[in-house]
C-alpha cells in the first residue's frame, strides 16, 4: 500500500495532487466527470472583492504544447463566492484553499479577513499577468511583496500561501521575503507572460494584447524555479506548471515540492486529475518508494 499523504502548512492532505486556481470552474462543471473529494485540496478560482466581468475576447490562444490565456480573472466577487460557492464545495470534504486577488493591499486584507473563517488556507495571487492593474507590481518588487504578505498574514487566521510569478532571476529572494513576512507556504509558478501575433491584422491574437502561458511548454521553467525556491526557503513549496501525468507530479516532488497543482491538464481532459491520481501509486512503486514523503526532496545534485 502506497502512502500518498503529505503535509502542507499545517494541513494534512490525503495526497499531493491539488486542482489549480482558475482551471476547474467552481466545481459544478468538473464534478460531472470526477469526484472532487479525490484530491488533496482544491484551490478555488481567483476571487476579488467585487465581481469582475473579465477581459474582452479573444481570451485564448493555443501555442505548441501551451495555452495563452487572458481571461482577466472573471469572477462573481467575494459575496457570491462566500454564500454560494463555498457551501457547494464544502460538501466534498476536502481542504479548500481560496485564491485571492486585489487591486490594493487593503483589498487583499479584506478578502483574507472575510475568507479566513470559511476556508482552510488562502493562496495570494501577486502576479496575474493578464490584469492591467494590481498584482503584477507586488509580484516583481521584493519590498512591495514583503509589505503585502505581512499585511495579509496579519489579517489571516489560516495559513497563507503566496503564489509566485515565474521570475527567472531573483525568485529565491522573492521566496525569502515571503517566508520572512509570515507566509506558510509558496506555490509556483503562475503563468508566464506571453503574446501571440496575428500576421494579417498585425496585431495581437488576444483581446488585451498579452496573457499568461501555461501547459507542458512551461514545465521545464517551473521545475527550475521550484528547484531554486526549495533551496532558498524552509517553508513548503507547491509545484505548478504543465503537469499532465503522474510522471510530471513525481518530478516536482523529487525536487522537493510537497504537493503540486494541476491546471491546464483539466482543460485538456476533465478526467485528467483522476487519471493522474490513479497512475501515481504504481509509479511510486516503480520508483521503489512506499510513500510520497520518501520521494519529496530526493533530488541528487551530483
Amino acid at each position: 500500500m502506497i502512502d500518498l499523504s503529505t503535509e502542507l502548512a499545517g494541513l494534512r492532505l490525503k495526497n499531493p495532487v491539488l486542482l489549480a486556481s482558475g482551471t476547474w470552474g467552481y466545481g459544478q462543471e468538473l464534478s460531472q466527470y470526477l469526484d472532487l473529494s479525490l484530491f488533496g485540496a482544491l484551490v478555488t478560482k481567483g476571487i476579488s472583492l467585487e465581481p469582475r466581468p473579465g477581459n474582452p475576447p479573444p481570451r485564448l490562444v493555443e501555442t505548441p504544447c501551451g495555452l495563452i490565456n487572458a481571461i482577466g480573472l472573471e469572477n462573481p466577487g467575494l459575496k457570491a463566492f462566500a454564500t454560494k460557492i463555498i457551501p457547494y464545495l464544502r460538501r466534498f470534504k476536502v481542504p479548500l484553499i481560496a485564491n485571492i486577488f486585489g487591486e490594493s493591499p487593503e483589498e487583499y486584507v479584506t478578502l483574507t479577513a472575510e475568507l479566513s473563517s470559511l476556508v482552510d488556507a488562502i493562496e495570494v495571487n501577486v502576479s496575474c499577468p493578464n490584469v492591467k492593474r494590481g498584482g503584477l507590481l507586488f509580484g516583481s518588487e521584493p519590498a512591495e511583496l514583503a509589505r503585502l504578505v505581512e499585511k495579509v498574514c496579519q489579517a489571516a487566521s489560516v495559513p497563507v500561501i503566496v503564489k509566485l510569478p515565474p521570475k527567472t532571476l531573483g525568485i529565491g529572494e522573492l521566496a525569502q521575503v515571503c517566508e520572512a513576512a509570515g507566509a506558510a507556504a509558496l506555490s509556483l509558478i503562475n503563468t508566464v507572460p506571453a503574446m501571440a501575433i496575428d500576421l494579417h491584422r498585425r496585431g495581437s491574437r488576444l483581446g488585451v494584447i498579452s496573457g499568461g502561458l501555461s501547459g507542458p511548454v512551461i514545465k521545464p521553467i517551473a521545475l527550475k524555479l521550484v528547484y531554486e525556491v526549495v533551496k532558498a526557503v524552509k517553508i513548503p513549496v507547491i509545484g505548478i506548471g504543465g503537469i499532465t501525468c503522474a510522471t510530471d507530479v513525481a518530478e516536482f516532488l523529487i525536487l522537493g515540492a510537497r504537493a503540486v497543482q494541476i491546471g491546464t491538464a483539466n482543460l485538456i481532459s476533465p478526467r485528467a486529475g483522476s487519471r493522474i491520481l490513479q497512475d501515481l501509486p504504481p509509479l511510486l512503486s516503480e520508483l521503489g518508494v512506499s510513500s510520497v514523503s520518501q520521494l519529496i526532496g530526493s533530488f541528487r545534485s551530483e
Binding site: 462543471e29 460531472q32 466581468p53 475576447p57 481570451r59 501547459g215 482543460l267 476533465p270
Partner: protein, 260 residues
Amino acid sequence: MEATKAKTHPQEAEARVIRRRPFKGGIFLLRLKTDPPLGLIQPGQFVMLRGEGLDPLLPRPFSVHDQEGNYLDLLIQPRGRFTRYLSQIRHGERLILVGPLGRGFPQPEKKKPPFLLVAGGIGVAPFGLWLKMFGPAPLIYGARSRQDLIRLSFWKALARPLILTTEDGSLGQRALVTSPLQEALKKGPRTILACGPTPMLAAVARLAQETNSPAYISLEAQMACGTGLCLGCAVKARPGGYLHVCQEGPVVLAEEVEFD
C-alpha cells in the same frame, strides 16, 4: 422556447473512427463510434475531440451532424492542424471525445412561427440532426461556390424546400443567404435557426429584429475546455458583459449577442 440542453450528462468517451467520407472542397464526414455510447444529443450541441498526444494540446469543438445509435457523424472542413490530421485519419484510429456539450437548437412547438433554417458553409452541419429529429423545414444553404455546397441529396431528402445560394452564382441563386431569408420573412415572422460565419449571423440577427422573428444562432469561439472550466470562450453580450459559448451556447437568442 429556449435553446435546449440534453438531459444526458456529458462524459469522456473513446471514439473509434468508423468511416471518413470525403466530399467536394475538402470537407469530409467523420463517423465515430463512442465507448461508452453518448446518449441522446440535441441538435446544435457539440463534442470536444482530441488525439492521444499533447500536440495539438487542447481538444477542438465540433458540432454533431448526425447520430445513429452508438455512432455519431461530424462534418468537418480542414482549417488548422488538427482538422488536417483528421482529414487523413484512418478507420479504427482512436480519438478521445467529451460530450454532448452546450445548448442546442430549440424544437418545434405549436402556436409558434414556423421554423426557417439558415446555414452558411460548414455551418450546415447541425441541421442534419435537427431535420432528422424534428422533421422537414425550409433550409436556406449558402456558400461561396458550388463546390462548397455538399451532401445536396441528403439535404434535398430532409429539407422542404431546400434553397441554395452561392456568392459566385455557380449553383442556386447568386446571393448571400440573407436574400432568400429576407424574401421569406416578408410572409410573416419565422423562428430562424442559423449557423455560419459571424458576419452572416450578425446579418441574420438584424433581419430577425426588423421582422420581429425570434432567431437562434449558433456561436463559435476559441475554446480550451468546452466544459465551462476556463471561461475562455467569451463573446460580447447585450446589454453588457459576456456570454460563454460552451455553457450559455453555442445556440443563443440572437438578441442576446452584441455584434461589433
